[in-house]
Symmetry: D3
């Protein structure tokens, strides 16, 4: 059940150092480092190729076709925050555009993840303001019904608490619970280090079959080679 009509002011953001560290890794790496967990649904796409974001979440619960709460959220932003906007119903209208992006940036936001539609994507791309959305639509919204700011939300199928770390790139969006951020950052670092040597060996022509010692388990599973 969603709490409606609430703005929580003092939220606990994830450790800044952990946020910075997570920003170095891609979404796929962080998702793996969390035990293959935390991904938002893949219908969220960046509005321009190469868009990237990482920061603690200021959460918003929107009503469909209504962007009032985005204005309310602007006041709660701190430098580096990511706005994560869920919606009480499936909706693709354009809840966010250039003016709000101007405001969000002025107040410190480094990007937006929204389980709804956005517009002015030409202008947003020119501004290089990173946005991950479920739709692009010029259709405007009203400012008539309350939602909430900084309550727990479900955004694109994933539970998000205010202060959790949100990371987005061309592969999608992943959420790291604030308490786990340092541990996940460490695990991601280890994974990356490990990948560098693998990349070299594969580039030299070594087969994954050998590098990962797959031949025996494949044979055990019954794989047969025929000519």
């Amino acid at each position: 059940m969603n709490e409606i009509g609430i703005v929580k002011r003092g939220i606990a953001r994830a450790d800044a150092q952990a946020v910075a560290a997570l920003g170095e890794y891609g979404v796929a790496t962080v998702h793996e480092a969390m035990g293959r967990s935390g991904l938002m649904k893949s219908y969220l796409r960046p509005i321009y190729a190469g868009a990237k974001l990482c920061g603690p979440a200021v959460t918003v619960l929107l009503q469909p076709g209504d962007n009032w709460m985005l204005h309310v959220a602007a006041e709660q932003l701190r430098e580096g925050d990511i706005v994560v906007a869920a919606c009480t119903a499936d909706n693709g209208d354009g809840h966010f555009g250039e003016l709000l992006a101007t405001s969000f940036r002025a107040r410190g936001a480094h990007g937006l993840v929204i389980d709804a539609g956005v517009r002015d994507v030409g202008e947003l791309t020119a501004m290089r303001f990173p946005v991950f959305s479920r739709a692009i639509s010029a259709r405007g919204t009203v400012k008539a019904t309350l939602g909430s700011v900084n309550v727990p939300v479900v955004c694109a199928g994933t539970a998000v608490n205010p202060g959790d770390v949100v990371i987005g790139d061309d592969d999608g969006v992943v959420v790291v619970p604030a308490a786990l951020a340092p541990k996940v950052a460490q695990a991601a670092a280890a994974r990356m280090a490990n990948e560098a040597s693998k990349r070299e060996r594969l580039a030299a022509g070594e087969l994954g079959l050998d590098m990962y010692a797959m031949r025996e388990p494949l044979a055990k599973a019954g794989l047969r080679y025929v000519d």
Copy 2:
């Protein structure tokens, strides 16, 4: 009910000055200036980022998997026209490609909006011929069944009459009835003027909450701040 087998020759195009003026504004602005009306469904997407078009509509009613009427429409084009092609059934086949674009451009067309599929998108992108379509597919079409040209159509959920102004950009496609074009252009101009000063204030850090005087209505609606 669609009229089949008709080509209307002498159509009344929207006022040229109004068309030129509307071309200065984006789709979102024009849609708002019309009272949030006139948008085609958001499944119509530009085939390349940054595609833009604006002009009076030459309408086409296609049969699915058949592009005969696009050839018929070519003869009815004047400099600056936009071809708006509806289809009597949902279909994603490639009704339009490089050769037709070459012909359309030679006859004056400034773009295509089509509630069906297109192909040769690499070549169309290289030509910078703006196309908004519901699908991309290499699947070819036949030339066997009559449709119509310059009859009223429903394209991507929106009624379009020949001569109406059609505007497309990264946010989608909007239709302005010919008779309303001057009035809508004026309203859009007013809206734009108004936005410039807002943008500046928001960029300076002023909150929408204050600029739009939202605090009182929010409080009245029951918004509560908690710590």
Copy 3:
């Protein structure tokens, strides 16, 4: 019925000269040259604009959420091959990423067509490794259940045999049976030659109505011009 647990080693690849020739034509042209046949479903999209591939298919049958067989396939690659990966169920997880692309390229692959999801699309784009997929998702996969390599598969609605020619560009993906490759290459060449002169005439303003002699059949079909 899919054969599970088989790797066929010695496959007959389409004639190299025919493959090279087909690589000169776009997907739409080849599809037309085959009598409007052989297209994969249009939900397969390139991960970056301008991606292109052409080569004989090394086929893979994947289990959903499992990329084991892609590693097995790497060993069967020869210079110029295209990996064509079907899946026993609809699935959008990220079965392929940068490391596998590095391995595939080192072993000679010129691209991937996959009826499932991929990840690391930023890195794959930077590598210019052409991939056509049904989805982009950071979600990782396991290596636990057997599929097959170089068995006949149905990929994106189209039957593919190992060694068939697979061609992909911005318009989609088409498959040419190995035995037909030389004949189709010839037909495509003829079609291209024919198009060049048409393009010129259309660019000069000639109407398709006249160039294709459509006026008479249109009149016979009952087309009426009104003012």
Copy 4:
């Protein structure tokens, strides 16, 4: 462009005799009798198998997530009317339920066609109140923003004017312009008469190939029989 904030009271309903006649035929027959035209998109489905409706349209233009105008429409109903509700945006919320059905029935309505969602489908089924909708959802709506009643609308891809005849059955929904209703009813009657004798011949084992004299055109088109 949709007219907002208008209720038209005195509408011209299609000829009652023609409406009654059309009610005798199924949707497929009427669609064919109109030259394969007038169908709404097939995503509109009856909420229970066997639901059927036929009558002149009282049109409604809804705002998404807002059912205010359905209450306004109730006052404009006459015995036998069908409410046809379009929506200014794609929306699947439950705009209509048992209470409104009770009101509509009391005021004479014989059914509802709605390009949005409905709820209370268990109760509506028990009432045998025929409804064709795009979705079923318990999600409630507000009564806050104006739409219109008895203006021209586009419902499920088809233009509808108040007073047009709307017919629905298990195959979907078709619209007959009021002025054409008598002519279409006649054409449908002729078609039905014709079908009865065909049904008998086919039931007796005669082939469509012979009854429709298809063998010659098939041979001309190049059909080859092989053993």
Copy 5:
């Protein structure tokens, strides 16, 4: 982030009396009584018309294409429980069928809500075992990867904790947090009482316009009647 590999045994189920009371109301009524909140996404549909369920949730987190955890959940069931199965990825395979339904019923379950596919729907319908699912598919699953039982999950877009009340009928599925169950049951009762008298007045021909006193706010909003 989902907890993997956990089975929580002692869960706090919602008050039994409140559960029984909520079972008397439909999903739409409960959703309204909670302030229009708690609905699962409307893609969850009953496998047979008229399926209904109400009870405290035993939650399951499934891996896609793997139904191992449903067997683990069976041991945690008490009389009257509803199994609520979420999945770590979008998947429509048949995770549940007649044998598991037999087991669940023997252990006390009164139904299943599953954000994945099921099979044996003919048999399940004959058993009158109520199931709400996102898909129907004969495709079988494996028992290979751990999920969890009785952890918090997101099912069809809605957060569910073990012990929460889950209610399903033809209109969809709604979740009531355990702590709020008594209060929501009361609110639903009040709503129902209120509806009975409204139904009578509407059935007698009174307009919602008058009963809800809408004429004045409509006029204020600018509604115009024309002839």
Copy 6:
């Protein structure tokens, strides 16, 4: 590549006894008995609950929006055959209705599986003529372009050869290659025998955890019970 313009007359139907045996089992059982293989995509749905079919396939390759080849196929039918109609492009138009069903039944067909749309579903339901389709639409089709009869096709993602056994029920549609029919029938029988005793034990309250000896592998995989 699809062969166009061919009717193959003498096809080898699967062994009649095996067909009869397979008809005794449901789709899920047969799919499992084939090693989880052979399922068509789950978007194919029966037009009425409880529809069932089983028989050797007479295959048809349709052009979208064209049902000419269904008439050609009628002549090739023998008692007990199932018509399996694929389409060269995605299409939901109504290619089949009551008249064709009358003809098919008179010529021996026991049902239709069609990767396209059908109409007259009220009448087809009354006739109890089992049909599995991807869509229901009143939209009519033409008889203008050749396809084929009794060539190999890909229907709903699965390769089908003429004479293969096709089985459909509420869970979907599965295809058994003719040569494997006896072996699969045997495997299905064994599976069914095995299920009967399992059903009894589960109904008596025994847990799948114990019956399938899952406790040890679950513990090995790391499952932890907490209170």
